[in-house]
Symmetry: C2
Subunit: 432 residues, 2 copies
């Protein structure tokens, strides 16, 4: 059994704490400091010890995946953001061509956001076995209310394994009620099939199933989900029923249900607050008074204050925002924009012990590095020099430079110029 | 007629946008960009053209008073924060000894937070005249509900001018209801008396009415309000009735009633928000969803999210906060702390055109000035040098330094040291 873990996604619904780079699956929300990605991977390993996991993710999230999981996983990075069908097709092509997996091998596709007990993942064996009978197998979740957010599966019988009569993605409320009355299950976002099945679909719908070609034409592939592209058109589907608690933690409303604590960070709330969650990732205190059924989330990118139910509808508001990323965690450390002026940008850069920047230069800006913590070495135009807290290094336009953190380093970097952009960076291979 | 305008106050109830330095009367909340201080001063001048105004304020607020009002007012600065009785006594001593005001002259004491029409201030003439009949005259506000926040005045008659039967500061709800049923008025915080009257009280209660002595022993004076010290013990009081709209804008709940707009700064709110005010003085966007009867205020010091009524009770929560001031407006410009580490502090300093720092040095920290906008001159250890955006100046421990802004200057100042405090500053008079 091969498992494709879908760990892409923009995380806009968990703004301001997640963004294109720092997505929801990386938020450390659990008591033990773990994020969803770590939790799901652990659960899969506990329940499917023989399974091999491949993580389908966005190119720019690769450093974070490695930071949280190390280097031991196979990765299928998307060159750009597409929906689940292209992403699954690309990962399948990778399994076939690079990992040499047999076309008859069972593949399980699993998203990274189900917050469930281990027995959810233990059902993967059942799904994998069922692929012998029907080309496509889904996981059906016993629904708790007529949600408009999920896909609905109507099974032939109420058995634990059943053939599927109808599948409908995100119906309106009236239809959702009808489906539930007819014994429908929510689509849990798990798909099982033989490797050859999805490669056939890629051939038919995308014109190719070749790994290299898919990578090359990825930006031109249709932005379509596996549900719409494949599931809605498949006649022979089985569903495996799952009746225990299931939460997808893709919105603040559902995420707060699984948080270990009602408040994280510098927070005070008065005694009249009820069902309030406050996640404060900013560096200033928050005071909350008289709030009910609400979520407050603050970080370097912004502040959300929302009724919990209303918070599910945040996406269009986030889309309207200026998309400048003000904070990001990277494999080498993190950066945070702390001041913006018309002809300068001030950034706090943190480098982990042993990490280094790439050797680079800028054409349209000079920089000053104010070292405020740690020790390390800089190389500027080929010359190496030791630096420590208190040192100040000026980097004129065009100078080639890098820094190596021998101890964790913190730098206040002041950039000067009338045209400061992230594109203004030339990478140099040699150091001298 | 002499008017003492009380413009001290900690502004804790309007946290995070006001603090010990930047108090509520300086918040620019009106359409025309004015603050309460400017509004009240204009109203007094319009309605009492012959009156002379003396502003009783905190020492550290003097620069802001000058910034908003210029240099044309008499100031009576308190050496430290005390309540209204010491503050009024000090201002009275100033009027007597420095301004040589006659002991029989009528004095009107007026706080800076009544949000009212001009006819409120027009009544000052009536109060001043009434001082001939009773030693103490109050302004009585027709109450609108049994508030526990105000003092209650029970007049003998329902006439526009009446003798006072009883005065009670901040009663409980039951008593407040009884008082209102008995025809009570709220105490509007206006006191009228002859100059000699309050100097006598100072002599009796504080042991002196001499200006220099009061200044010298100010820190040891009792922290007592004029209401408790004088009004509650005076047998002969008159009250002048005011029946029009009156608001004290000392809390978010009342302040938001007079705000020109429901949102200030980068704010998005969804269609389900109602009776919501958002004041965003931070540099990140705020999204609000599904909030009712609430106020959100964000700035460099913190974030408040509160039900409007509950917001009146914020004070104890603010008192529990770390009191480090992260942002302040000064007569010469402003400063904002943008990064805090154990052995460094990064501050954005803005200097207005023509302003300068005092010539100073530090014993336990070095500094780096990264000039990010403007032009000016620095003097370091007696040597003058022109600086402009892009320049970086290192100031070792002990170096004497200042900067003069020839054009508006912006500096990212990085402070290095393991013991960074605001006390570590030695002021030097000579420049070379």
């Amino acid at each position: 059994m091969q498992i494709i873990l879908l760990s892409g996604g923009s995380g806009q619904r968990l703004w301001p704490l997640s963004n294109d780079v720092r997505s929801k699956q990386f938020l450390k929300i659990f008591d033990n400091g773990e994020c969803m990605l770590q939790r799901v991977v652990k659960q899969i390993r506990r329940t499917n010890s023989n399974a091999s996991i491949t993580i389908a993710t966005a190119d720019k999230q690769v450093p974070l995946i490695k930071k949280f999981l190390g280097d031991e996983f196979d990765l299928s990075p998307e060159p750009c953001r597409r929906n689940t069908f292209p992403s699954i097709a690309l990962a399948a092509a990778y399994l076939h061509e690079v990992k040499r997996i047999d076309l008859n091998e069972s593949i399980i596709v699993c998203p990274v956001d189900p917050y469930v007990d281990d027995n959810f993942f233990a059902l993967f064996t059942t799904l994998a076995a069922q692929v012998a009978d029907t080309p496509l197998v889904l996981m059906g979740i016993a629904p708790t209310y007529p949600s408009e957010k999920y896909g609905y599966i109507i099974p032939q019988t109420a058995d634990n394994i059943s053939r599927v009569v109808t599948f409908k993605e995100k119906p309106n409320l009236a239809d959702a009620k009808k489906f539930i009355a007819a014994g429908a299950l929510w689509n849990g976002g798990i798909f099982a099939f033989k490797l050859g099945y999805v490669l056939d679909k890629a051939e038919k719908l995308l014109g190719t199933s070749a790994h290299d070609t898919l990578k090359k034409i990825y930006a031109d592939l249709p932005n379509i989900s596996f549900d719409y592209a494949v599931v809605e058109h498949e006649k022979k589907i089985s569903v495996v029923r799952y009746s225990d608690e299931w939460k997808d933690i893709g919105t603040w409303n559902t995420l707060t249900e699984v948080l270990a604590s009602n408040s994280i960070g510098q927070v005070q709330s008065d005694a009249t607050c009820a069902n309030l969650h406050v996640i404060n990732n900013s560096d200033v205190p928050i005071i909350c008074m008289g709030l009910r059924d609400a979520v407050v989330a603050a970080g370097p990118e912004g502040i959300l204050v929302s009724d919990k139910v209303a918070s599910s509808y945040i996406k269009p508001f986030v889309e309207r925002l200026d998309k400048q990323i003000r904070f990001a965690e990277k494999s080498w450390g993190s950066f945070k924009i702390i001041d913006v002026e018309s002809e300068s940008l001030t950034v706090k850069v943190t480098l982990n012990r042993g990490s280094r920047m790439r050797y680079h230069s800028h054409e349209r800006r000079s920089e000053v590095w104010n070292f405020i913590a740690g020790t390390g070495r800089i190389i500027v135009d080929g010359l190496e020099k030791i630096v420590r807290a208190g040192d100040v290094i000026q980097l004129p336009i065009g100078s080639k430079h890098t820094v190596i953190a021998d101890e964790p380093l913190k730098i206040i970097e002041v950039q000067f110029g009338c045209d400061i952009t992230i594109d203004d960076k030339i990478i140099w291979q040699e150091m001298n």
